[in-house]
């Protein structure tokens, strides 16, 4: 939300904003250079990595300067608040008690954001130092600096890192202490001014004790700022009347087609890829590849697969984690390794025609009648847990005279040393190697036992994106993420946000919902930064949240009613935004409960109308899959209903008994 500043403070703010804009341009330019180096083939991999690291360090320095300028702008607003509050006291518009409380609030808020900024600065400095350390190690190994000098530099940087960690912790402790005192003082003020009773104060103080030692969350900082801004800053007059032409649209429902692709049968041939390409996979595997042994493809693939497996297995436990790790190995092998294409019996590289892993499933054995009926054949290998990997690969089909996606299956058993392959199959024929013999069977004869556990490519891709967002934003767990897909809209949107032309938003712009440890939900519009060394997500620049939410609005949903008119959904805004250009947007939940992004084209005192922007939602671990996996049935629901009714009846009986006792004076 924009607030008015005095002329002097506003001029200062514009100067800082101009510096931030220049910083952003420099940052984007460096990102382009990094992108070009990555895509180029000049020099060795080590030379390219060296050059990229140097540019990344420059990016972090720019980021550091931007953070200090943002802190300076925040400080201007705080200064304005203090000036306005002091003036109100002089004009006798507020009591001494209120003035005392508010001036404390403002000064303590300023102190806390300053400490928070120091913590951020330590974090950036640590990142820079770690990059410089890597650079120094590389210089040493490449002979660019004498060994003694390099060792000395490394020791100094490591000492600085260690010291910073200590200073950072001191700042965190101080911030936690100030946070606690701020809240405690305000609770006493609320009691003294009659807002809460002494009993309520006691309860809230007990609850506050539980949070001792915690620093304010991002949401808490926003709430403090909003609260102080509303009281002590002047808001510009905002016209309720708003009418704009909607931005361009492709008119193509990409999310619908992607959803359809996902639902194709992976056990039969299909027209389009079920595999959903995730840029994060490319970024991560590129980064891992820079450190991988390059002597053989197999070693390279193994290293990258292992690193990716750790990422996929994050947060998972037991069997799921093991499956996720193996999934990563097989996926990387299929995309980057060498393998035999079963459909044409040719050795193929994953770079030329990738074998795309869609699913890895653990089943309770296989049943193949032909093999079971073969006298003397030991089929016990098929009666243990079997791991079934299902892929798709692009192949020319002679009958259809076009390229289609054909399925490939691989069957594995598992022992102490890892996974052993025992069978591979196409859509028509599967070859098993059991009991020392290689046997071909019709694929349709291969029956799988019960499904015990499964991981899919969608799930792993979803996990990769969410890990990236959580690591970058640090604002809690990601509960939902949806990618904005309309390319024509994203061009207009980029201009509205004041982002340079070289910064293409296509394929990189998302809306996201997060939940912190307190269960507070928040929403944001973010962009994936492919220029940094590791995939990084950040709030999209040029668009900011307003203080409005929870308002009723009507928006399109992509469907049409008979007659051709667009169908409208009535919904509520979860969060509202405004771009630099003044365009207004909202995040809502659509009829299916998924996050939606809408452009407001009309707003007046009677109605808010918007047009949705196509967004593809990445799947979430949701409640429905929990019911499915646990087999929750109608009988379970009936029992739950009865339990609730019993409890309600017991409570009513107790209340009636208490009334009767009271009436009788007992």
């Amino acid at each position: 939300m924009e607030y008015n500043l005095s002329q002097k403070n506003d001029n200062q703010k514009k100067q800082y904003e101009s510096i931030i804009e220049q910083n952003n341009k420099k940052y984007f330019k460096l990102a382009e250079e990094i992108k070009n180096i990555r895509a180029g083939k000049e020099g060795t991999a080590q030379d390219r990595q060296f050059a990229i690291l140097e540019l990344q360090i420059q990016q972090e320095e720019i980021e550091r300067d931007t953070v200090t300028k943002e802190q300076a702008i925040a400080d201007l607003y705080v200064r304005e608040m203090e000036e306005n509050l002091t003036q109100r006291r002089i004009n006798k518009e507020i009591s001494a008690q209120e003035f005392s409380n508010e001036i404390h609030n403002i000064r303590e808020y300023r102190s806390m954001i300053s400490i928070n900024s120091n913590i951020e600065d330590y974090d950036i400095e640590s990142t820079i130092l770690q990059m410089k350390l890597r650079l120094e190690h590389m210089k040493k190994s490449m002979g660019k600096v004498p060994k003694e000098q390099a060792d000395k530099n490394i020791a100094e940087m490591e000492q600085t890192l260690s010291d910073n960690e200590e200073y950072r912790q001191d700042e965190v402790n101080e911030l936690a202490k100030q946070n606690f005192e701020y809240k405690r003082r305000n609770l006493y003020y609320q009691r003294n001014s009659g807002e809460i009773s002494t009993d309520e104060l006691k309860q809230k103080l007990e609850e506050l004790e539980q949070t001792k030692g915690k620093i304010p969350t991002k949401k808490e900082f926003e709430e403090m700022l909003n609260d102080l801004s509303e009281k002590h800053l002047e808001q510009p007059q905002q016209s309720q009347e708003y009418e704009r032409e909607v931005s361009n649209r492709d008119g193509i429902n990409y999310s619908h087609y992607w959803e359809q692709n996902k639902n194709q049968d992976i056990n039969e041939w299909h027209d389009n890829c079920v595999y959903h390409h995730i840029q994060d996979f490319d970024n991560k595997t590129f980064e891992y590849g820079l450190h991988a042994p390059s002597d053989t493809t197999a070693h390279y693939v193994e290293y990258v697969g292992e690193r990716l497996g750790e990422e996929y297995a994050r947060g998972a436990k037991g069997e799921k984690a093991e499956l996720a790790r193996q999934f990563a190995m097989l996926e990387v092998q299929g995309r980057m390794g060498d393998f035999l294409d079963l459909y044409n019996s040719e050795e193929t590289s994953g770079y030329d025609n990738p074998k795309l892993l869609l699913q890895l499933e653990k089943v309770s054995g296989l049943n193949i009648e032909e093999l079971e009926d073969t006298i003397g054949l030991d089929t016990s290998a098929l009666h243990q847990d079997i791991y079934v990997a299902t892929y798709e690969i692009e192949e020319w089909d002679e009958t259809l005279q076009r390229n289609i996606m054909k399925p490939i299956k691989e069957y594995y058993t598992r022992n102490e040393d890892g996974f052993d392959i025992i069978g591979t199959g196409t859509e028509y024929e599967t070859t098993f190697v059991i009991d020392g013999m290689s046997i071909d069977v019709d694929t349709e004869q291969v029956l799988q036992g019960d499904s015990l556990e499964k991981v899919t490519q969608r799930e792993m891709g979803d996990r990769l994106i969410k890990n990236g967002i959580e690591d970058s934003l640090k604002s809690g767990k990601v509960t939902e993420v949806a990618q904005l897909t309309d390319m024509s809209f994203l061009k207009d949107f980029r201009e509205q946000c004041g982002i340079p032309e070289t910064w293409d938003l296509n394929g990189r712009t998302f809306i996201v919902s997060t939940m912190n440890e307190k269960g507070e939900e928040d929403f944001d519009i973010i962009i994936r930064n492919d220029g940094a060394g590791d995939t990084e997500y950040e709030h999209l620049m040029g668009i900011n949240a307003t203080d409005k939410s929870g308002r009723e609005m009507y928006t399109t949903n992509g469907r049409r009613i008979p007659g051709g008119a667009e169908e409208l959904d009535k919904t509520q805004t979860l969060k509202e935004f405004m771009t630099k250009s003044g365009h207004r947007y909202t995040i809502t939940r659509n009829a299916e409960g998924k996050l939606g992004f809408n452009e407001i084209f009309r707003e007046n005192e009677n109605i808010i109308q918007g047009q949705h922007i196509d967004a593809y939602t990445y799947s979430t671990d949701d409640l429905v899959s929990a019911y499915e996996n646990a087999g929750i049935n109608q009988e379970d629901l009936n029992k739950a209903y009865e339990a609730l009714n019993r409890t309600k009846a017991e409570r009513e009986q107790t209340q009636n008994q208490t009334k009767t006792n009271n009436l009788e004076g007992r």
Binding site: R314, G315, A316, K317, K320, N367, E369, E372, D373, L447, Q448, G449, D450, S451, L452, K477, T479, M515, G519, E520, E521, R589, N590, A591, E592, G593, D621, L623, V624, S625, A626, Y627, E628, N629, A630, G631, I632, N633, Q634, E635, D636, L637, K639, A640, Y641, A643, L644, R646, T647, K648, E650, R651
Partner: protein, 149 residues
């Protein structure tokens, strides 16, 4: 109220807090307060939002209660509600089929015969062995059709 019910409410309360305000807000206030007041005060389980609910130590009754709330208060459209109802109905049918399979006297008799005949090495055993894979294949096919885990 018995301890088990109180523990169910404790687990439900923890899950509701994990799901967050947007879910809690949709429940009737009296219902949420009832859960909060009737739960076991000294039992406050913490769940990991990274792990599927059904893989954590949650009572079946707890998940059932959450499913009941989902059906009644959290569905965003009739379509979503109908899909949930279909899921519960399908699970009910599978459950009933399993019970019938388990307690079907014919099957009990078959299993007993199979176990007896396995121990004798005769032509009769060969015939039973031939039947066994066929028997398993049919069951597996039924399970695959109905997606029974």
């Amino acid at each position: 109220m018995n301890v088990q019910t109180q523990e169910i409410y404790s687990e439900v309360y923890s899950i509701l807090n994990l799901l967050g305000e947007s879910y809690i807000k949709k429940l009737p206030v009296s219902l949420f307060n009832m859960i909060k007041e009737e739960k076991r005060q000294d039992y406050n389980p913490k769940y990991d939002s990274e792990i599927n609910l059904e893989q954590q130590s949650i009572k079946r009754e707890t998940l059932s209660m959450i499913a009941l709330f989902h059906l009644n208060y959290w569905c965003n459209s009739d379509e979503e509600k109908n899909e949930l109802k279909t899921l519960f109905k399908t699970n009910e049918e599978k459950h009933q089929a399993e019970i019938r399979e388990k307690y079907n006297p014919d099957n009990l008799f078959k299993k007993h015969s199979l176990q007896q005949e396995e121990s004798t090495i005769t032509n009769e055993v060969a015939m039973v062995e031939y039947k066994e894979p066929l028997f398993k294949r049919i069951i597996n096919k039924i399970k695959i059709i109905f997606h029974i885990n």
